[in-house]
Point group: C2
Chain length 377, copies 2
DNA sequence: TTTAATTCCGTGCACGGTAACGGAAAAATT
DNA sequence: AATTTTTCCGTTACCGTGCACGGAATTAAA
């Protein structure tokens, strides 16, 4: 058996000669899909009328409307997206409201999703604009919204940090019929198109399981590095709840220590950790619920200890490096960039194809990263 | 602050009124992208000639060719895909050669990727045909190839089980200029467009780490359930190597037991396991390298044991159920369906958009699944 | 030089839908 | 009955490419 176009094969004991592949003929079969003209012919109307029906633009009598609808479902007509895109001129813009942060941060990671759409064809001719706001400043969201208004978006992606301000925006969007998608978290809202996020409670549960390895543990340390400790809306609060519940269920007598650190104060980290471990040298299990586990890395590497386990969240570059070095044992990742690209995808499918997402609430998979599978992430 | 179109915001201490969102105007800006006609005008040629240049169809003088090329790069022209698709009639077919197996099996899982393309617009009007073959019968691949030839594919996806037969096919495809992509594994080949697969050695390494939890272990059991034990091309051989290396490196004195079972013989499983654990009751760590860990589930559930750890591969439905029940501790997954859809995507981008994949060899991420994150998979 | 063969290029229709425009028909008003 | 308004619909000019066809210009053969 060899190449060169002569191929013989043994089929049921007989030697059979096979044909060759033919040069691709892309002008084939054609499948004869019904077009808008077919509908027009059948109903005795013109394609203009059919088009009006298809787009609910009115100016159509009830009789013809129904005739067209019937013909459509009878023939199984579906519009040719390419022709539609071509004729329409293909210019949509999508506004993304997300907190904006320093390079390498969680939200910076999410922003990366803007530039890698899932669907190159859908995204052609669509401009996606990122309107960043300060997650600690409610007014900054409104300022961002203001700038966004000028771009007249056909769809909006929102990572809602502020309940009431977000509600104001979504109400306005609803009024205009502009679809919007929540990512990361969502607020009570009657009209969002879809939501993409992580199951926070479950992620805490998973975190605890990864930290303890399913075995009994005497004590764990939870490090909380966050600016505003008293913020009403700590995004990781459910995660913490899940973590606690797991521990209570699986190791009822495990002591959970908590360490609060202000990120602004770099000295404070060293000091707090020193103090804590002077008092509790036996603790070997450390968890963090936000994406900043990397800031612990320097201290951890200065104070190595056998059998220590550190679990954190999110695939920030700095986190993954700490993981590779073995400083962090496990990272639980939620693909913030994918959340964004899925959100954009959902919007475009809605806007361009008129398709509703299969599920409204979509929970992302939680990836478990260790030093042994981080390379291919 | 409330809805109703009146929005005031505090900016730097001043209260500012914000405008409202405007009704989306999709007929905006238009970006004025250069068209084929612009190129024609500039070069003083006609669009026919420009088109010939764009598609390398010859019948163009060197002078005009270069003129067109220059104009293209000067204007930054890129073709309007929608117009192109519309005019061309959008009919491509892609042939997928994959082993075909019973429902719920690994290859059945992979086949699912055929129906969920990443890119709905790209895939419109493309027919993807699955040509299954028997992974134990080399001739069956050729028979499948024969059937595939008749469909005149524009691109081919191959999961190569047989080195030489695959080489025959790819040589023919190369001669015809039909691009092909390998999935799962690849053979030495000078012309494949891309490869999507799992890093097998590393997956074994990861498996060992998940099994031992990074701790010392006295002994592990490797169960091998496979039909043809002496097959030259055991696809999991590198995985086993990675596993072994990890154990040797991390637990030099760990005893690795191996149990060989014929899958056809259901009785054999019970018996073999009974016999083994009669002789080695202390063993609590079990690993399997192919996707059939679920066949161990009945025995494991009949003989529960505290602290037992079982690690297997691939997200078959049966495996995930065993995971949910806690029978299996960890599954390492490689997304066979994604391999397929990525392969198809790469082909289409090549065929339709003329775009080459960013990387030729693409290793999929290895997902770690436990009972706590399997729900959102 | 005439004729035949190449080489190269322009023209024009098709692809399926969009939406502006204007007009016929029906209904409402005077 | 004449006029205005409204409702409804057909016509038509695109959108940007693909490609077949035929013809002009150039070269080779006679």
């Amino acid at each position: 058996m060899h190449g060169n176009g002569k191929i013989f094969v043994n089929v049921h004991g007989k030697t059979v000669k096979l044909l060759n592949f033919a040069k691709t003929d892309s002008r084939m079969a054609q499948a004869e899909k019904p077009t808008i003209m077919d509908i027009a012919r059948i109903t005795g109307l013109s394609k203009g009328t059919v088009d009006r029906v298809l787009h609910n633009r009115g100016e159509v009598s009830k009789k013809s409307y129904e005739a067209v609808m019937n013909a459509i479902s009878e023939l199984g007509y579906e519009p040719n997206v390419y022709a539609s895109m071509l004729a329409r001129g293909t210019s949509h813009s999508i506004a993304v409201f997300m907190p904006q942060d320093v390079p390498g941060s969680f939200w910076d990671l999410a922003a990366a999703g803007i530039d890698k759409p899932r669907d190159p064809l859908l995204t052609k001719g669509v401009t996606i604009k990122h309107f960043g706001y300060d997650p600690t400043d409610e007014d900054s969201l409104q300022v961002a919204a203001q700038r966004a208004r000028e771009s007249k978006p056909s769809g909006v992606v929102i990572a809602p940090m502020f309940r009431s301000s977000t509600a104001v925006i979504t109400e306005e969007l609803r009024g205009l019929g502009i679809p919007y998608v929540f990512i990361d978290s969502k607020i009570d809202d009657p009209g969002y198109l879809a939501y993409f996020g992580m199951p926070m409670y479950r992620s805490g549960y998973l975190c605890a399981d990864q930290l303890t390895g399913g075995r009994h543990v005497d004590g764990v340390l939870v490090v909380r590095i966050q600016r505003d400790v008293n913020r009403k809306s700590d995004p990781t609060i459910n995660r913490r709840a899940g973590f606690m519940d797991y521990i209570h269920e699986h190791c009822p007598d495990c002591v959970i220590h908590s360490l609060l650190i202000n990120p602004a104060d770099t000295q404070g980290i060293e000091k707090a950790m020193d103090e804590f471990f002077d008092a509790h040298p036996e603790i070997r299990h450390i968890a963090m619920f936000n994406s900043r586990v990397n800031v612990l890395a320097p201290w951890l590497e200065k104070h190595p200890q056998r059998g220590r386990r550190v679990v954190g969240f999110d695939n920030l570059e700095a986190n993954m490096q700490a993981l590779s070095r073995g400083t962090v044992s496990v990272l639980i990742c939620q693909h913030p960039d994918e959340q964004v690209s899925l959100a954009v995808q959902a919007l475009l499918e809605r806007i361009v194809l008129g398709k509703h997402p299969a599920r409204r609430d979509n929970f992302m998979h939680m990836d478990i990263l260790t030093r042994y599978n981080v390379d291919f992430y």
